[in-house]
Amino acid sequence: MEFGFTPEQELIRKAAREFAEEGIAPRVAEMERTREPPLDIFRAMGEHGFLGITLPAEYGGTGLGHLARLLAIEEVARVSPAMGFMLQVFALGAAPILDFGTAEMKQQHLPALARGDYFATVSVTEATGGSDPMGITTTAVREGDHYVLTGRKVFITGSSLCDVQTVSAVTGKDERGRNVISAFLVTRDMPGFKAGREEHKSGLWGTQLGELVLEKCVVPAKNLLGKEGDGVKVAMKAISETGRPGIAATALGIIARALQESVRFANERVVGGSPIGQYQGIQFKIADMALMLDAARLLCYRGAWMKDQGLRCDVEMSKAKLFATEAAMVAARHCGEIYGGYGWLQEYVAQQLYRDAAILIPSAGTSEMMRVIAGRAALKG
């Protein structure tokens, strides 16, 4: 078992760190102030190859794999959790096309997504079905050579800025009366596609979250991903194997940044004649943060390694997501407390990390659902 990175992986990390420090860091204050998503940064992600990191070379990607992807997201998220989050969403959006799309869909969209010409996301959650993907009510009715989709998706990252969205919809009922769910590739130019209400979050400013409204949206039948009834499989494979690790890597960035800022402050802030890092109370918090970062990294890297080997990894990714996101909340709080009163002033990053970490918890499955997945797997023995 090797625990070190290859020289190429170190280069990938360095490239992401430079991109984040030079291209994103100077814009963080602006994003915190305006809360606007910076489209030019998203395009620059494509120009530097970060959007195609898991896409094969034949589709314009670099094929560097999922571990490389997590390294890149962590470095970006360390500077801006919001940008790390968007970087991971864009790969989530491409995943269903790569795994279930037709050759035509792949050729049409994947190279453009890799370049950052436009962006993709996955639209599953509804008011009636988030943790329960079977509970959605959006319908897709077959009419000749197309489907007509009607419904409303909520909490969709990129709802108004992503031109390509994988949408789950009910196409029928099975013999037991349960929803049969299918997945469709829906694009902005289709009649009835409408970005709905924008949500105003408490953090991750610079991301875009809102509703997708489908008002009798006409989708060609050839845009069905997989076959009818594959909808949950399509969506959950993307969310569990690409979305959750991406969110976990965003959490790694938050923990790393919280630790970095805490160490700096603890070495500089003098109280009672000594830097506060000399006091055990502070040392214990920093030790916990360092430990959480190591443990979260190992869980994330293990899941990514499995994905790169072609192994099933949904349970491992759920564990990584659960641990890393919960740890990010703890680390951000520790950072704020180490800073004392300063920790909750907007001038300092601790309060931003805390607000950003909170939104990772319910994203792509709550901590409770992650425990359900891990628990069920453990009980099977």
Binding site: E8, L11, I12, G63, L64, A72
Partner: protein, 267 residues
Amino acid sequence: METVVCVKPVPDPKQWSKISLDPATKVLRREGVETILNPLDRHALEAALQIRQSQGGRVRVVSMAPPFATEVLRETLALGADEALLLSDRAFAGGDTLATAYVLAAGIHRWGMPELILCGAESVDGSTGQVGPQLAHLLGFAHLSYVCGLEEVSPERIVARWQVEEGYARVEVRLPAVLTLTREVNRPRGMSLMGVVQARGKPLTVWSLAELGVDANLCGLCGSPTQMGDMWMPESGRRQEMLQGEPEEVVQALLQRLRELAVLPGQ
């Protein structure tokens, strides 16, 4: 146009506070300090890549450094260089700028002479700015140091902006030449992941003293006409005066001191 860029791995300036000096052995302790490509060399590489874009040809990168410098050279390949060469041997250790220039000149000569050699104006650690001009002399090239702009580039000549105290002078340099560049010359491109993948197939060669075939007495500490005399960490402090008392008393005392120091008028 064939261009060679000389690069140096240096301790990351952002982490210099971690570096300490052993006062007894005069050895710098730099555990945990990352090594990076000398920042001004990045500008030199960028200039070479832009010249390749307009003039064609190749960009090769050379460094005289310990074995760990392969990481930095790999980075230059990912940034777009076509080929890299590391000159590394214990015999090269401790060399001053002349010994370094001697090894680099020998390496470049053996590797294949270019029309143009670009260097960063100075390294962040040594800051001598001497290797470029010494290299030019050893190779019989023209040279211009502290170039802050490249106005015209052709296979025969370069018109450059040469940084002077109050601005710049416009200078024409005939090739072959060595130019050392300042940060004003360009804005280096970032590393892309496409570049990282392309770097896989690019040659990275390592030559030792034996492969280079140079005189060991002209390399490293042996070949250095300058030797380090002493090294110490300078202490810097400020004069301090503490004024005690109630706020009103302290204010009056402060005003009086500022008048005594002629910062404020009056007595």
